[in-house]
Symmetry: D2
Subunit: 138 residues, 4 copies
Amino acid sequence: MLETKISLNIGWGDCDPARIVFYPNYFRWFDQSTHKLFEFAGIAMGDLLDQHGGILPIVDVQASFKAPSRYGERIEISSSICEWKERTLKVLHQVHNAGVLTVEGYEMRAWVIPDESHPRGLRSQTIPEILKSAFVIK
Amino acid sequence: MLETKISLNIGWGDCDPARIVFYPNYFRWFDQSTHKLFEFAGIAMGDLLDQHGGILPIVDVQASFKAPSRYGERIEISSSICEWKERTLKVLHQVHNAGVLTVEGYEMRAWVIPDESHPRGLRSQTIPEILKSAFVIK
Amino acid sequence: MLETKISLNIGWGDCDPARIVFYPNYFRWFDQSTHKLFEFAGIAMGDLLDQHGGILPIVDVQASFKAPSRYGERIEISSSICEWKERTLKVLHQVHNAGVLTVEGYEMRAWVIPDESHPRGLRSQTIPEILKSAFVIK
Amino acid sequence: MLETKISLNIGWGDCDPARIVFYPNYFRWFDQSTHKLFEFAGIAMGDLLDQHGGILPIVDVQASFKAPSRYGERIEISSSICEWKERTLKVLHQVHNAGVLTVEGYEMRAWVIPDESHPRGLRSQTIPEILKSAFVIK
């Protein structure tokens, strides 16, 4: 399956008074990395609705923090889809700092389409085959 | 003229390793305070386009930082419109901490309307009288 | 056990182009709500090291997103400690919007103390009884 | 004088419901770019106090927004010190998107040293010559 890696330097403003990354920032980076993964697979997350008729909101997210990272350190985030279910997919994210796995987590996203039976309605549906196949290495 | 005040406690994640507020957060709070000011005047910033045919993007912003604030401290942000020009308005923001003025800044926003002559086009225009009058205390 | 509630209005900048809360912001609010909970129990999270000789970093976090919230909506976050283990505690967070549970998650935090046997070293330890007892309603 | 450039892709979470960058994020990037500029000059912003006895807090900041940027677009931030005064320096930041200048602003930072005559005291002082000379291209 496809995997992408992004690297970034921990910024001053990413850290809190304990001088380590303020943990919500990892989810900001997870989201960026997921977008990158989809882009690499040829799917523009910002155009999902226009091109495929649905969107992929987060339904569940989890992360384990094994070691802190600090201002100026460089981290690498590896992301891949580790699970496909009928209506959901799971993106696995692993954060390495100097070769050490420091954070591991996932985002579960559901395929939902507009449901006109009520305002702002959305309902989950089977993930289109074309989305799944984009992640298969040919 | 109308003035609004919002109060908030400085959060752990709002501060950087120097243990003071990471300055971009002040602009996040300025934006919130402007939205509150407009709401108080009866104008929903999120519905400007639908209700008044235009939007009010930021064109210029400035702030002076006189003293730092720290985790757990409570600040109060006072906001009012300090200048109306034909096509722009200026929102003045003053941040007090324990009665002391610690940050002062402004946001200049322009009234712009969609311009169909080019994609995503916008052009500035005279601010509608109805917007201005909403800020006059009756 | 103690429970705290904080209320906040969803800000313009808290939302993404899908016009719903960008999910990492919920963790920012979880963290704020945990600090509030500890403060209510008489424990200053920023002074843990000075007063109790340790800190409470996040080791695991999870959230389920049941419904989105939008700009201008008001949410309420209820937080309480739902589990004490020897070396960890779990803070349960529930986010309600107009009375409906929209997000539910937890932060697991470990009690760790400085370990001088290596630079920046920390090691987990039994949570001091004084911390636990602060959360018991007398 | 030295100049650095950083490039970044606008993230989904960097944009607001108007589908453009939420403006406080530009200051987050200004700060990152300043840190990069100092690093390039051989000065670690995080170690200023230890190595040079002072710090460089922001005293004034300003930005003009000429055109919006959107999710997925790539911007380049060029930064250099455009003014040295006895006790302050000014970092000029220019943001280009597809070759077009879209945001221009500055951060004014003051050289301050700890002042033990009162708690958390700081007082401004002449910028050390060694800092200034680090920015001269040899």
